[in-house]
Amino acid sequence: MIELLATQYAYVLLFVLFGIGIYMVIANENLVKKLIGVSLFQSAIFLFFIAMAYVEGGSAPIVPADGPVASPLPQVIVLTAIVVGIAMTAVGLALVIRIYSEYGTLREDTLREVRADE
Amino acid sequence: MVTVESVRPLAAVLVSAIAVVLIVASYRRPNVREGWSVLAAVSKFAIVASMLPGVLSGTVYEWSLADSLGVEFLAGVDFALRADPLGMLFATLASFLWIFTSFYAAGYMRGLDEHSQTRFFAAFAASLSTAVGIAFAANLVTIFVFYELLSLVTYPLVAHNEDHEARVAGRKYLTYTFFGGGVFLLAGTVMIYWLTSTVGTATTAFEAGGMELLAEAAVAEPGYAQAAFFLLIAGFGVKAAVMPLHSWLADAMVAPTPVSGLLHAVAVVKSGAFGVARVILEVYGPGLIHDLPLSVPGIGEVGLNVPVAIVAAFTLTAASIIAMRKDHLKRRLAFSTTAQLSYIVLGLSMLHPYAVVGALFHIPAHAFAKLTLFFCAGAIHVETHTDYVSEMAGIGKRMPLTMSAFAIGAAGMAGMPLIAGFVSKFYMLLGAGYVGGEYWLFAGTLLLSGVLNIAYLWPVVYTAFFESEDHHDAKPVLEFSRGGVFESYFAEDRVATDGGEAEDAAEATETETEDDYEYAVDEYPSDHTVPEETDTGGERVGTVDHHGDHEDHLTGGPPAGGWERRSPFAESTWLMIAPIAVIATGAVVLGIVPDTAVFLEVATTVVEGVFGVESFGELQGLSLSEALEVIAE
């Protein structure tokens, strides 16, 4: 266990982040915070990709260098995924704005009550 | 056995499917619409009949989707139609009776001025299409296709009335038939396909005497083969109304009478019995069924046929007893159908050639007799709106020809000599006798149920002809609680305890005296048959089954002055009288000269094919094991 924490601490941290994100989505009633949770969750996955491409002593794949180079593929992937993630967040926030203007609340529990009343 | 490629089996199926389109298209003109119905019926029969001589001389007409259009229905499964002797038996019957039913239906629907007649006639034609499809199906998948479609197209006929009762009956109908078809039959078919694929090229095609590959596979996997057998029997058993899967049939009687007649006494229910015949004779074959023993704890090993026979024997006894207690005529007939169909299943499951011939011949024999009975019930309903036996006292005066035909049909049900039912029952008894051993039990059931048949159908005839509106005997079995009526002697004390309704109770006793005739006749022919609204003798009246349309019940019964006397030709429209007369005559013809009336010949041809002999005579006098050895050779 200790050894795992010592050598693979990045992964452990990222999974904690992953968990926090999921928890926010499930447990938080505020819609914006839910979206933040989703973003956090996604970021954890992006970082996971980057972390696994890390090579001890390797240099960035952009700069031509002697010696070991970090794998470029995960970085490309993450760049793409970030773009996708941003688009998602943007659409999500747009929806939140619309919901707020219709119902005047951002809290899911209140929202449920309002909708039940209608 | 010569196989000829021919489009005729397909044409026989499609002709009424095309009629459906024409019927719907000419919905504005009822005469044209009914014209299409009749035309389709006649041409369907003509097409089927044109194949009859060929089939009897050993030709099989086959049409397959893969060979003619190059379309494979499912991988390794062909969609094929095939006019073989067994199929011809059912197809000839259904298409022949449809001709008369289509006249009768026109008379019935117009007589009652029913709604949605176009839908009715369209669904009717579609049902016939699928029934003939079932008859000609060459493999289990094809028969499944038509079996499911039959359930589907008969649903509108059951739910025709569009009232609550009809909808409930329709729901029940769909549930039962789809459980039988979509679940049991499909599962059984898949199992057969899988079993045969374990030993060779997967197939579901019928083979007279049983599928060879299946016999091979059954040796390796006896458990699965048994499971598949019972799945298939249960699948077809639902439509054949074998207990405990029978209760949809009585509820389906809310449908208009032509439907109850042709579909729920002939086409639909017979498709179930016919399917059982296919499974026993041409999927498993008598040999395999007998040799694939089922070990029952405590009894030892029995053939697969024995459980089926026991269920059938139970059904026919129980249904006959239930029928005695039904006051609604169509329901009584429905339970009679349940019982009679089990004759067929019982005969088939005895496996002996004679029993099988008897069972197969019982398909047309019962059809003619039961159709007569239903047509009579429908005619009575149209003319007098009477549905309950207890209201029919003296109705013989009003409808002499109808009730005479009813008497013939009833005698046929009971297996009186000279009427079709006798011949089939005779063969089945012979078969049971030849098998011997424990099978005397089944012979006994057959005889007992003959007596029960008389017990539930004779009262109708008796009521109609030998009772008068004002002198109507109570029927003890029907109207009294089981074990007799206590309160006949102490009525006043007993009933008065229930307080408020003492008046009614008083009536109930008073009407026994002659003074109250006019009043009693007015609405209720007899106090004992007073319908459910008098709850006075709660337990007494409550035991009478009064399902059915309550409003009809109130409008039924004799008019104020009693039944008027009419001549046999003026009792109803010729559209209804003529079919009744023809079908009743048919029942008699089948009983007097079964040999010349085609059906028996077809039935023996089937058995010859199954047992692989040249002529039926070779099977004469053989015991079951000897007969099964004949197959093996």
Partner: protein
């Protein structure tokens, strides 16, 4: 066939480009309605229609090539597949491509009159189509994620374009869960990459059996399966789906219901069979059991929930949960027959649900009915719509000859072949379960006369003018229905029945792919 062959020769290298064009064209054209909308009004439909027609012909040309000559593989930019992007049109994916192209074209015919309209709708529509075609064609697991997200993005936008505020809530719910699903899938991809160092499906298939860290591969499968279970809406992860279907505009639901989940289910099958392969599936302990359990539980739960729904759209949405359960269960059986059955059911279910949801839209416009009770008397008042709906419902039950039966036959046969008896029982029982909710609607349409009581919308102020709110028989606006709307429903119904005869053909067409996978 020879004429097809010579035609294909004439097309030559063009066919090779088709996979790219099928994806790139709609995505690029998605910008056109908005861009052109700055200058001209009403250009959206023209652009979308031209693209849709092009896509259909492209998909058909591709299908002709794939089913006569074998798979078409295109490496984007000529990079080798180890790190480039590969597009694969094989027998499996082509079936989905044809489905996506034709259904989306049909839906376009519907929305011409039935709405929604407007340039933003057409942009989102084209983006969705492109994304779905991308999911079907891609041969790269990460690329699959991107296309999943592109199509989801468009779907969220389309659902949110509904009139009421409810649609925004439904869309947000879908967005959150959909994004989580896709992200979980991405996590699985990360594990796969860690274990093998490649993202190409064909390369992964080669690398996985020899991968040292099988734990990583198994973890990858677990994440990928859960991600897709969310996307495909398997119980208990289906919660987003009913409200998304229900609150989407009527013109959008057929598209979403028929294609979006179908594409995800296709992707699940692709990943399970092409990437992991049958050997991995069967050799991993508890894997098939879990997949099959998720599927069968979804069948049961979906049907049960469908029976108790009052809103027809919601009922059909739960029906989708159960039908996709059938497909997932079939995947879990891991044999050829079941896999063919799953593919057929994917296509068949897509077609039937597109028709059914279009019919729901049609009925709500022309008859003003949205709940099961309000469908009373539909048959007498709108015979064509009722007839087509009835045919589709019956096909969905699996009454032969219809495509629903073909799928069920193969899946049932697959379950029996695998000797997985509990699954077989559920599959055969699913007929009854489906019947339970379809019969309810059939009975209302055909055997329940429309009565004023049943017809009145309780939520609407009917008797504002002091009237008694009766005479609802001429409710709805029959004139608001275009030929295109009716055509989509009727064509779907006819197609569902016609494909019922194609059981053998389907099997043959898929055979090269299936026998390669199961060698």
């Amino acid at each position: 066939m020879s004429s097809v062959g010579s035609l294909l020769d004439a097309l030559g290298g063009f066919v090779d480009l088709l996979p790219v064009l099928l994806i790139v064209t709609p995505i690029l054209m998605a910008a056109a309605p908005v861009a052109l909308g700055l200058r001209f009004d009403r250009t959206g439909w023209t652009v979308a229609a031209i693209t849709a027609v092009g896509l259909v012909s492209g998909a058909l040309a591709l299908a002709a090539e794939v089913y006569t000559r074998g798979a078409v593989i295109h490496n984007l930019g000529g990079y080798p597949r180890t790190y480039g992007i590969e597009l694969v049109a094989d027998e499996f994916s082509t079936a989905i491509i044809v489905l996506v192209a034709t259904i989306s074209a049909g839906v376009l015919a519907y929305t011409r009159r039935g709405g929604p309209r407007g340039n933003t709708f057409y942009s989102a529509y084209l983006l969705l189509t492109g994304g779905l075609l991308g999911i079907s064609l891609t041969g790269d697991v990460f690329n699959l994620f991107v296309f999943l997200e592109i199509s989801s993005l468009a779907t969220y936008a389309l659902i949110a374009s509904g009139d009421g505020p409810e649609s925004a809530v439904a869309a947000l719910k879908y967005l959150i869960l959909g994004t989580i699903g896709a992200s979980i899938y991405l996590t699985g991809v990360a594990f796969l990459f860690m274990a093998t160092g490649t993202l190409n499906m064909a390369e992964l298939a080669l690398a996985i059996p020899g991968a040292e860290a099988q734990v990583l591969v198994r973890a990858a499968f677990a994440f990928i399966f859960v991600g897709f279970a969310l996307k495909v809406a398997q119980w208990p992860l289906h919660t987003w789906q009913p409200s998304a279907y229900q609150h989407a505009p009527d013109g959008v639901t057929p598209l979403v219901a028929a294609l979006v989940s179908t594409a995800s289910a296709y992707a699940l099958g692709r990943v399970m069979y092409t990437v992991f392969g049958p050997d991995f599936l069967t050799s991993t302990p508890y894997l098939t059991e879990i997949v099959v359990t998720v599927g069968t539980v979804s069948i049961l739960a979906g049907s049960t929930l469908a029976v108790i729904q009052r809103d027809v759209k919601r009922m059909l949405a739960f029906s989708s949960v159960s039908q996709f359960g059938l497909i997932v269960a079939a995947y879990g059986l891991v044999n050829e027959t079941a896999f063919v059955g799953a593919t057929i059911h994917l296509v068949g279910h897509g077609l039937m649900k597109a028709g059914l949801f279009a019919a729901v839209g049609l009925v709500s416009v022309s008859y003003g009915a949205r709940t099961v009770d309000e469908y009373a008397g539909l048959a007498t008042n709108r015979p064509v719509a009722a007839g087509a709906t009835a045919a589709l419902l019956i096909a969905l039950v699996g009454v032969p000859p219809a495509v629903g039966f073909v799928g069920k036959w193969y899946i049932g046969l697959g379950a029996v072949r695998a000797e997985q008896w509990p699954v077989a029982v559920v599959i055969f029982l699913s007929t009854m379960l489906t019947l339970a909710y379809t019969a309810r609607l059939l009975e209302k349409m055909y055997f329940t006369p429309a009565s004023p009581l049943e017809a009145a919308h309780p939520s609407e102020p009917v008797a504002a003018d002091g009237g008694d709110g009766a005479a609802p028989l001429d409710r709805g606006v029959p004139g608001a229905v275009s030929v295109g709307m009716v055509a989509l429903v009727v064509v779907a119904a006819v197609g569902a029945i016609a494909l019922g005869f194609a059981g053998g053909a389907f099997f043959e067409l898929l055979d090269p792919f299936v026998s390669e996978v199961f060698n």
